[in-house]
Symmetry: C2
Subunit: 598 residues, 2 copies
């Protein structure tokens, strides 16, 4: 078991009422039933073609030989199955052969796939790349590429990063020379391009950032191009497009997917087709970036889910020692380790992180769906909420996810360190998630430096309003009042810290303002997750009070309340120390004339 369907259904239907989305035209071909069918279909592929290959695609990592990258046959089989089942294009409009499913459901599918085998991320990349073409490309590009990408014949990639420009996209130097026929000739280096070359698909379609010669400096001179590995003539014949695999990275984790170093235009014959208008590439990319960031957050939550269930199973089966109040009962049978409070604490922590993160991520996906279908002020509110929550939804599940997986490994003790159990691999795999699609440091600057301040702080106000709505609803139940009070207090503490930091922004001292943005992110994340937990607890409590809940489900709902309590009692108090530091006046990390780190 690597995820809980019961919990997914709880979040999708009981907390977020996904079926409500079908009242909008865009989604009205769907209902609860079609949502479930999509989830069943994904689960089938995950169970049969992904989960069984979790270890072997890690152990047989792709190599670059004679300019070619070969991947195991299981990769081809999974991509084909995803394409055949329509699971690459679930979110695409019917006109593209997509299923026009809400992101709220699409995110659940991503969660299942990544929990089963996060090294099989090929199709997620294709979906993202095809989405850029579908949203911003001209008809010719759409017709040529989208269908073959969505059916899994061709792989898509995001080719952004360059050796000298990692987190700083404004410094990319790949050049694009305009040709009389309207195409471009690309020349440059790209690094860390996931699925950037392999033999499980017939062609690789890179969505590549570059600068048209003479374009302005910085981010305003970046354009987006479709750069295929093979140019495809109208009759379907392939011609090599001068994109060379010059290196492959061997990595700590996610070893099943090759990360490529690509060189374009060595023979001056790398053709690119511009997507949308010149110099607007980064803005297109950023429209996809929110979705990609939520996707990475989802990978964090999913890997942590796989780790949680693996360690939970071990803890239920492994006998070791006696309970602390029975230490002297020599010769009595050992208890299973789930009965040791320290182990139980580590399990509850994992559950709280996994289910809290998933809840926040589905909240974001739902907002993303609402942005699509609403208008005017309502749309703006949804947009602002999505903007402020996205960096948190990228960061909390990945950062807390790492600690959760580490707790999972610790539950197994020495066995957790061995390759006999999946924990060591999950521990390696999840480590990339706080790095790609913008590191935690970048997300934190985005949260505090852009999102909290945007439109005079309106996004933050809207969010706090949402939190207060949940508090009001939860206040219906006396049992939840201690927790609504705690959250109210923490919300006030967060607002106080925010106001303190805003002083520096007002003065224009951005470096001081953002100095400890990562700690601010941590505090913001704890409050946001508490909100999500209170939201889940309110639904659980209401169900227990108003419905006739049966045995298994009784445990499910009571466990929800229990895990909410865990979060409030063990995780939320961490805000105390963070607030002390964030309001502290001592500056220790801004460059001074003396260099103290030696």
């Amino acid at each position: 078991m690597y995820f809980s369907r019961r919990n997914l259904d709880f979040l999708l239907h009981e907390v977020f009422q996904a079926a409500d989305l079908t009242k909008y035209d865009y989604f009205n071909a769907h209902d609860k039933e079609t949502f479930s069918m999509a989830i069943d279909s994904m689960t089938k592929v995950a169970d049969n073609l992904m989960y069984p290959h979790f270890k072997d695609i890690d152990r047989n990592q792709p190599e670059l030989k004679d300019g070619k990258v070969t991947v195991p046959a299981s990769i081809k089989a999974y991509i084909k199955a995803m394409g055949d089942a329509g699971l690459i294009g679930t979110g695409f409009a019917f006109e593209f052969g997509g299923q026009q499913l809400p992101e709220t459901v699409g995110s659940c599918l991503g969660f299942i796939a990544m929990a089963a085998n996060n090294g099989m991320m090929y199709t997620g990349l294709t979906s993202g790349a095809a989405g850029l073409i579908a949203s911003f490309g001209n008809d010719a590009l759409k017709q040529k590429y989208v269908e073959k990408m969505l059916n899994g014949t061709w792989q898509g990639t995001m080719a952004l990063t360059e050796p000298q420009a990692g987190s700083s996209l404004s410094d990319i130097t790949t050049t694009a020379e305009p040709m009389p026929d309207g195409t471009y000739r690309l020349k440059g280096q790209k690094v860390f391009i996931s699925a950037g070359d392999h033999d499980a698909c017939d062609n690789i379609i890179h969505l590549m950032l570059g600068r048209i010669k003479g374009a302005p400096l910085g981010t305003k001179g970046i354009s987006l191009f479709v750069v295929p590995k093979y140019r495809v003539a109208d009759d379907g014949t392939f011609a090599d497009n001068d994109v060379t695999s010059t290196g492959i990275y061997h990595k700590l984790g996610q070893r099943g997917v090759p990360a490529m170093h690509l060189t374009s235009g060595e023979r001056d014959d790398c053709h690119g087709w511009i997507v949308g208008e010149p110099n607007k590439g980064l803005s297109y990319m950023f429209q996809m970036m929110n979705e990609a960031r939520i996707g990475v957050g989802m990978t964090g939550a999913a890997v942590a889910s796989a780790a949680y269930y693996a360690s939970l199973q071990y803890a239920k089966e492994r006998p070791q020692s006696r309970r602390l109040n029975e230490k002297n009962h020599l010769g009595s049978p050992q208890t299973t380790i789930i009965n040791h409070p320290d182990v139980k604490r580590m399990l509850l922590m994992q559950k709280a992180v996994v289910e809290g993160s998933l809840s926040l991520l589905l909240e974001c996906s739902r907002l993303s769906d609402l942005v699509r279908v609403t208008e005017g002020e309502e749309k703006e509110h949804n947009e602002l909420l999505l903007e402020i929550l996205t960096p948190v939804a990228k960061t909390y599940p990945t950062e807390a996810g790492m600690l959760a997986v580490s707790n999972g490994l610790q539950v197994l003790g020495g066995y957790g360190f061995t390759e006999d159990f999946p924990l060591e691999q999950l521990y390696r795999d999840i480590r990339i998630t706080p790095i790609y699609e913008g590191t935690t440091g970048i997300q934190s600057q985005d949260l505090l430096g852009r999102k909290v301040t945007m439109k005079g702080g309106k996004a933050a106000q809207l969010l706090f309003h949402e939190v207060n709505k949940t508090i009001d609803e939860a206040n219906t139940f006396d049992d939840l009042k201690p927790y609504t009070q705690l959250l109210q207090k923490e919300l006030a503490r967060l607002q106080d810290v925010t106001a303190h930091l805003m002083q520096f922004a007002m003065k224009g001292d951005i470096e001081r303002f953002l100095m400890d943005a990562t700690l601010y992110m941590e505090m913001f994340g704890l409050v946001t997750l508490s909100w999500q937990w209170l939201k889940q607890a309110e639904v659980a409590k209401r169900t227990l009070v108003t419905q006739n809940v049966e045995a298994d489900d009784l445990t499910f709902y009571e466990s929800k309340l229990h895990t909410m309590k865990y979060f409030f009692h063990y995780e939320l108090p961490k805000t105390r120390g963070l607030a002390v530091r964030l309001k502290d006046t001592e500056v220790l990390t801004i460059v001074s004339e003396k260099e103290y780190v030696i």
Copy 2:
């Protein structure tokens, strides 16, 4: 660079005044000069034979083939060099051919070795095993084994863990049948035996725990045996001793050292020689355990040191983006990432963990030396301080060390995730340290359940007295007063939490008492490390005030003060949240009739 000699000298000579130990008879053959010679000698081996093989012994992990384990030639070369240089027996008395060096110095050597290549831990294991024979074995055992172990000809191991008894040694079932000639026949399974079989040494000498038939249940029926791989006749000929390598674990990290599954007595021909008296095996083992735990803590600090210097170098060389107050200077050169506050913070965190941990570990080693050479009440005080600090010195450097290495990896961004840099391996390697020699959970129960309560709380009182002595000394300097006040406040907070928890111990509810022992450990560790940082800062400040310090050293001492401030401003405040939880009345992790983790 993987460690700082300047920092090691500072701690050894300026903070802990190691040369003072030479006034005691046992150490009077030594002086500051011989200490330095030992460190130089270790550094030479580390630089030439260990550090260069950091990656390759990980990439070529030992395999078990046809019952044999083969390791790379570099392992044999390093073991031989360690033996030839007398570096396996530095702490052993002259009578054993040792160097009779203080542990304070020996720990520094271990730090250097593990920072260079923590997969080369073979000789540390030999030293520990030989130490058990030297301390508790009879003359025949001493004569037969110690010399050949200390010169590197034979490997030593600690064979404790069994498949069904990991953290619970009282449940081991390996049997030992007494023979008329005074030897025993051993039969059983041992797992995770590091260096339990390999071809770099001529023989493997297991120090194995087992039960003599008819022995009492639990820990009071465990005896300690010497069980060689090959029995050695008086003429030096070898006979197979029926210890079979039945499995080898493939691990997340420390891949250079084989972790073996051993089966003894399959042919009823596994001979063992008892060490000391029957049924006292665990008490002997525990006398070595303190040292072993400090050794594991040292490995944590050492791996974190290697990660710190690797990420520091990268941060000084890697240009990326512009400073936050200069974001709009398009086209201006990128700054090196050390100038970004978030990166600087991650580097300072690493430095604070590495140097603070090393300081605490040397404090423990010094206490261990003093226990050896002092008498009466003085000896008892040293023993009690060592007892209470040991679980902290095992846990803080390994737990905080993991986070420090993770920060190191994060500094490198995507490159940190690749095998092109050492960070990914260090990240894997350090993960075992909070597990072996007693997990963090076990250490935490030891701290709160045994050490804090022992002799009516005397160990804790003595420790708090030591902290107050440091506070008094630091109060000489106005600049340090804000920090002495902070530490005093935190000490009071810790005492308050301790008193709260003691109520449950008084009532005999041990499960409730120890429920959150791991969080208590974290809080205790933060206060203890703050004490070590204040101690270092006091020496640095005094030196700056009283001596004419030159350029490079000025930076060194000022950096000490700066890093102390980092610790007090960023790390210490975490006690706030921990105290809130530890005084909280909600019980969430003790088994109730309802099982909430599903």
